[in-house]
Symmetry: C2
Subunit: 312 residues, 2 copies
């Protein structure tokens, strides 16, 4: 939650001169996203987000991410389009970093979504899946089963420092998911991180889907499972009840009905999604120095989700 | 350079309902200002800065600061006006902090100002002094001679850790300024922190003067001296030459000519201004933990300025 790379305004004005976006009027570093540096830039031609990619994003993946958002935006989804310069280039370098000027979308991220917005978010996710069907590129999901196994090994004894019961929970769940994880559900391009922070809303409508930097190729229903773990629990991991859950799934199915196999697999996919965030949060928890710029998020909130899905 | 206090969007929407500013459209925490938390807020009625005052600002001083900016804005200066709610209150509480919704001003802060902008900034500072002449409130400058003496004592042996020559430089300068500091120059309300970061510019014109949280009552020419130490040196404290210096002073004198006494005292006032920032930076340097959210600024950049003014 910080701007890591500083861009002096003179450098920014020179950078913007590559584009047909008018002259610089205002620029504010925004404290959003733990992965990148972001500026909210206003020119005489409009408003934009300028993103500088920091070390957690692999530069080789950027053409995929930017190609995907351009594709989805062109298909009419509320996804921020990368802006091309006069030479047609969207991916640039600025202040020593890969950088991209991106469309600004209005809307706010709600902390505690109501069912109406959950319904709209479910529908938007299904529209995203449909619009991405003819996106011609693939990216393996580094955070699926093999990735979870690697992360669990990397945690080592650290998991027990977080919670005495965590090593057993992780080991049991990895064993169960290795046995049961589906092999043949419909695949496609997924967002893979559709938390409420990554949805911009105006009242109950979705005005923006943002932060595609985990997008990859995987089961479509797994994307809905990620959204379910993200939307249907509070920050501590307590289940919010069926209203938001029903609305999210109904919104999705109104656009793209789940197949019987997807519906059957859904609780298991939710366990996998919970484990995915449990593991990455546990890893970050153990590897983020106290007092760092990034706020550590409690891994146990996802252990609680996992236990919820196991019990249901 | 961070948002310290988080405001969930639902809380923000409720807060904005106190005002006649329309509905919330967008809100971004901005990474600006080391003293406060700031959000750039867009509503259906316009754009605003929402400031939450963190612990470095004394709450008792806020009515003075907000009264001053309201006064200057009403006088036609490009100063961000505090916005009053339907009950006429500008100073509020939000998320446990004193808070204020403030007018948004366009413009960018330049890192290396050109003479044209320095001239405009000098003129704007003089206009500020004239417009504040009928502002009826006073606030003592806590960072004048007695404050410098206290800061020097608080540094103790720490100054030598920064630079072996620093304790002698500070002691000599405090002794000299105690003897020579003027007693009877024209006084008034001063900004007291007019660095280029606190000036928003569109080309060579000043579109905003911001960050009045050091404003106080002191010698008007001391304010120009602060601006001189801020504008006429690079980040390491090397003098940029006479172009910017001449432009800044000419811009000021085009609106409010310095008296002969002020002109004579000016080099000494610049030494005082250099010492003021040298001492606060040295104090912050020694008292900011490594890895803190705030970037420490090198105190020696102001020791170099001090030596420049002594030699000239």
């Amino acid at each position: 939650m910080a701007v890591y790379t500083s861009v002096p305004s003179e450098m920014l004005a020179g950078f913007l001169a590559r584009y047909d976006v008018g002259a610089l009027v205002s620029a504010k570093g925004i404290a959003e996203g733990v992965e990148n540096s972001n500026y909210l830039v206003e020119t005489t031609g409009g408003r934009f987000i300028l993103t500088l990619y920091e070390k957690r994003v692999t530069p080789e993946d950027l053409p995929y991410f930017l190609g995907l958002t351009a594709h989805l935006s062109a298909a009419g989804l509320p996804v921020p389009a990368p802006i091309a310069d006069r030479q047609g280039r969207a991916l640039q370098r600025l202040s020593g970093r890969p950088a991209c000027l991106i469309e600004f979308l209005p809307g706010i991220s709600v902390t505690r979504p109501e069912p109406g917005l959950a319904h709209a978010a479910g529908a938007a996710l299904a529209q995203l899946h449909e619009a991405a069907a003819d996106f011609p590129h693939d990216r393996a999901n580094a955070l699926s089963l093999p990735g979870w196994q690697s992360l669990a090994e990397a945690l080592g004894g650290g998991a027990a420092e977080i919670d005495a019961g965590l090593p057993v929970l992780i080991a049991e769940e990895l064993a169960a998911l290795s046995d049961l994880w589906p092999r043949s559900l419909p695949q496609g391009t997924i967002h893979a991180d559709l938390f409420p922070d990554n949805v911009l809303a105006l009242d109950d409508s979705v005005s923006g889907i943002i932060d595609f930097y985990f997008a990859c190729t995987d089961f479509l229903a797994y994307d809905l499972a990620v959204a379910h773990t993200a939307w249907c629990f509070d920050a501590e991991g307590a289940y919010l009840g069926t209203d938001v859950s029903d609305a999210l799934i109904a919104g999705y199915q109104g656009v793209r009905p789940l197949s019987p196999a997807e519906s059957r697999a859904f609780p298991l996919l939710c366990r996998g999604a919970s484990l995915r965030f449990l593991l990455t949060r546990a890893y970050d928890w153990l590897n983020t120095p106290a007092g760092a710029l990034v706020t550590r998020k409690d891994p146990m909130a996802f252990a609680r989700r996992l236990l919820h899905y196991r019990a249901s």
